[in-house]
Symmetry: D2
Subunit: 377 residues, 4 copies
């Protein structure tokens, strides 16, 4: 996995300055890395809990990614979690215990908030966005701002890590055939639990058949994602969904075994073709983090596999294999997506890119910073 790779893109006169809330955690680190070479965004501010604030990022972060801490981030002073950051918008990788009010504070203070946290995902006026799936939901932003009295600021969320890959694969099937029922069993990587997250004593050579709140999210979020914004509210897609969620001893990449039934009769061949042909339009394809074909279909019997396929499409593609008939519903398949990229940081960055081209991001006038000063080096 690496960050965006479409080279220098001169679409905007200057880069938008991004802040990262919750910058020291697993997802926060992915944001920091993805912003290191982003053609449209630059990393301007890092904020985290009190324990870290006031210190250099490189001194407080326990860095988990394989590539080193980006130079641009290492010496940045970590700020406290208050809506006075000098940036144009923020990514939130905050823990759900603090994300709720904190993200509202930033939105109220005028910041567009791109949140990976679960807190506002199901709010009736907050878009739960996957650009390839439901970009029309951005129309809810205006209602949100009006409802809440936000001036310029707003909240846009991306789905739960295991929902993201599933819905990406469901979308072309919903469009082509209609969806009735979805049965899904996940085998999820440990990085989805953050750091320190899952204790090695619990997962070495083991499977844990429970992830708190995960099944509920997987049964709820697709209804909103595949549903419609009717101008004033979200209308659920109305499919039946049943989810079982498990943790397995894998580092990155959530696997999902899916059986589903379609409204329209379709052959396995047609299903595979629809998935293989799923391609985004030119607006989306021009986003630095997007891939033209966000679903990759593999032919080998024993794929996808997390260790071999999680980085497909720089971690932004869902990989589908074993498309075959289901003796109970219509179709069986196995899918995989990268829980930290497509399922977290990459998802939010892609959302921000769509917001940028749609004109939702602005270059803000710098707020005078009352507290922290850059350390003289």
């Amino acid at each position: 996995m690496s960050g965006p790779s479409k080279g220098s893109d001169k679409r905007f006169e200057r880069k938008f300055r991004a802040g990262v809330l919750g910058a020291t955690g697993m997802v926060g680190q992915r944001f920091v890395r993805m912003l290191a070479n982003h053609p449209w965004f630059e990393l301007a501010e890092l904020a985290a809990s009190e324990r870290s604030s006031g210190k250099k990022y490189g001194d407080v972060v326990k860095w988990h990614l394989d590539s080193p801490i980006p130079e641009a981030a290492r010496d940045l002073l970590v700020k406290e979690l208050a809506p006075n950051l000098d940036c144009d918008f923020v990514f939130s990788a905050l823990d759900s215990s603090v994300a709720g009010p904190a993200e509202e504070d930033f939105a109220r203070a005028g910041y567009p908030v791109l949140s990976n946290s679960k807190n506002h995902r199901m709010d009736p006026d907050v878009p739960l966005l996957i650009p390839e799936v439901n970009s029309a939901h951005l129309d809810a932003i205006a209602v949100q701002q009006k409802n809440r009295g936000y001036d310029g600021g707003f909240i846009v969320t991306n789905p739960n890590c295991s929902t993201a890959g599933l819905v990406l694969v469901l979308k072309p099937l919903a469009d082509a055939f209609g969806l009735e029922k979805i049965f899904v069993v996940t085998m999820q990587a440990v990085s989805g639990a953050g750091y320190p997250g899952v204790a090695s004593l619990d997962i070495l050579g083991n499977v844990v058949p429970f992830i708190s709140g995960e099944e509920e999210k997987m049964e709820e979020e697709p209804q909103k994602l595949l549903g419609k914004w009717d101008g004033s509210r979200f209308v659920e897609a109305g499919m039946g969904i049943s989810a079982h969620c498990n943790r397995v001893p894998v580092r990155d990449g959530h696997m999902e075994c899916v059986s589903l039934s379609l409204k329209k009769i379709a052959s396995i061949h047609e299903v595979a073709e629809v998935l293989r042909d799923f391609a985004v339009d030119d607006e989306l394809a021009s986003l630095p983090t997007a891939v033209r074909n966000p679903v990759v279909v593999v032919e080998e019997d024993n794929r996808p596999q997390p260790r071999r396929d999680a980085d497909a499409g720089n971690g932004m593609a869902a990989v589908v294999g074993r498309i075959r008939e289901c003796s109970l519903l219509d179709v069986k398949l196995t899918l995989l997506s990268h829980n930290l990229v497509r399922g977290a940081a990459g998802a939010a960055v892609l959302n921000a890119e769509l917001l940028a081209v749609r004109g939702y991001l602005q270059h803000r006038v710098a707020v005078p910073l009352p507290v922290a000063e850059p350390i003289p080096r």
Copy 2:
């Protein structure tokens, strides 16, 4: 896990002498260990492929179990795979590439064959037996002997390792409520693939979403197991079953996420109670390898787990947890069973015990052995 533990049982005047076909493999080793202290059976003969025959077992076996090779087996001469073994009946842990005709040869030569191989499981006159589930299927033996002209010999099989645990859990539900549809996704341990089996490069930190032939077995075998023998043929249970099978980096114990629908309305509480109350009758409970309650219901959210629960009931129990409502079918649950014990060697030993008390085993007159002589020690 340890072998039978009911102590000395004087039900039979002397022990039945057992042979093990395919004695050097993973399942063969389990047979050898379970027979080491068995109150009714003694290990009399070991047979394996030509490569091993004529040598001492201790010299040719690559022993995988945690306890040492039983003394009684270490110096036994491994025989070739021919139906002239000096024993009363045989367990077959043969590879499916040779099991088909070899097991028939033994049955034709008069040996009761307790087979763990897949070859004859679905034969129309061969019992696929789980004593707690379908002991009435033993009536098919008479028809089998007549059909095939077997004199004294016969074949009885036990199910596939992932089927065994599933059906043990389905049985009390089928009896209490009737079963309509079963959706099952497995996460199977590497020991199920034998030795050397799964390459570490394929499975370390990974999941492989494919096990050849496994989904077919899981969709077929329960129909026979939960069906009826009508005096001349097996009548399928007629449920709908859909299976996805995966390999995970776990040593022993197959996990299964199951959703199912019932013919009769039942609450989650009633389902749990029926599972918890599932107990075998006195005949079965008296078998050395049996457990009175072959289904163990655990309460903790995050159980069962293979590393912590696979040895429940000496590996002969299925452990069920997370019994809850399913938004598509009626009930969701997670189950676990030990693939090498309940799913292989333990299953066949239990079958042999049932055959013994039902009078299907006889003390055979020793066949004169033309070839191998015990090595003088």
Copy 3:
């Protein structure tokens, strides 16, 4: 692994009542299990941090062992960490952040303290005890009591988990040939770090070449263990020791690659023989947790292995393999011991057993308990 297995032992008129300090941690749980069926000791009191005190043990412990929580422990009220427990002596599995003064408080209040914590191991008047190695060090107890004004109470410690197995193997070699230099590299199991301990993200498919403080302990403790008590102080053994310590993705069992030089010339054959012949005297062999031969020598090239050999001798034996010549020093070998049994709880229980037969434990008159009352069930 199971607890002591020597059956009922009528050596003492009634059992000594044991308390466990730090009862909820990994080592504390091992104590609880080992005491569940102990012929000489009974589990009388459990103490832990404030967070747990006042609650039932079964409600606060996150139980990690494969066998269930012993019934006798489940409903015991956890006490706070104060020296007013109603028991004859205590085992300490306290974290080193609190063990230092807490253990002194108990000793001062008259309790024999059997400590697994590092805090007092190197104190000049505290025995660091392995019964098979240096039982004469118990003479230091009288000096300790005099030095510190302890009346009846005292502290006896057992070594660090990686030191324990090493010294058990070094002892017969030191006696037979004398030891000069020891080079040791460990590959240690994650359970040695307690729970939650090592994060799965750090160790899945990985090795971490650092364990805080471990190398220092391995270079210091053997000097005391293999040294002498001269009546007033401990005289170090004076060997050269160099240790490298690593964490590997293994659950239980610390592996150690050792090269060593001897004072007396010895063949590989003689070294192996001395290890194989190492046996304890009748006093030690009579202790319930002892094994007659605490060093097991295995012949196979590829043994010992943690998953297959850690439970040798119920976890109380060190397993040695690959004894061969070293081109730099004299002998190379690989050893393994169970870090939670021989390296922690089992070590302290064995120490307590030796203290019992040597008359160091007394049946204390019950202290009136001012605070906690047993919950009426």
Copy 4:
């Protein structure tokens, strides 16, 4: 890890055409990938055992690398192992059971052979080459050709995967301070054993303290690598070396705990500085696969780690950490190198690059190929 990255290099008028012997194995696949975008070499021929020959590479290889099979290789016909390949030189990833005579056949037929196999490494006229360490050993080629009557062809080998990283780290220390004794314990990744290699049942949650022949190689090969070619023969370096080799459940990257003594007194600081300053000259630095600083020194206590550091320098650097005093010898450190890149394919490619710039490779006139024809696509 990716292949050479120095971009288009016009040093040679046209690319040298490379053949790969043993192209379907783990190391063969690494060769194929490294040659896919090589600026000086192009993949011209693939040869393998009879089982594969005559078929397309993409149809017979079980591909293990994370990136897909290079397009240029997928449709190449695999040839049999005979010295009539249409290429300028060959890389050999042959199994040691066949490499001995096969490599001689190719050398005799005029091909430069860059071998990763162990068979000829210790031959008295065959260079065992690490360009950063002993490029002067190439002078042995002329003697080899004379000795053996080779006309144009010759054999150059690279060391064993665990030797490679060790010697790269020892080299600057040998130059600066002189080396006396080296004690090394390895923790080696499973990919070093090829495919299928280590069975998952042997290594999941386990350590295996034995790798056949590995300790012998690690004690022999550094003597030749760090020794001298005196014009007619290799003079050994004459250090004392003792090695223990272990397999651990890690995919890629061999860890080594090393203690060593120096001829000249040096502080830990000086040792670290010498390692940090180790840089190759401009000739070497210009090789596409070389890194200017082949030893990377890390500061963190808990590094290097295989999963996080094996790809340093595109897999061509050795990573050193924990440089500290040894209480027996002088210095302790931990090192890591990528067993399939620096320890195998990358090593041979780098060797070939050095041979190219030194004029040892020639564009051979195409041999008329009697047997295989390219398949029309």
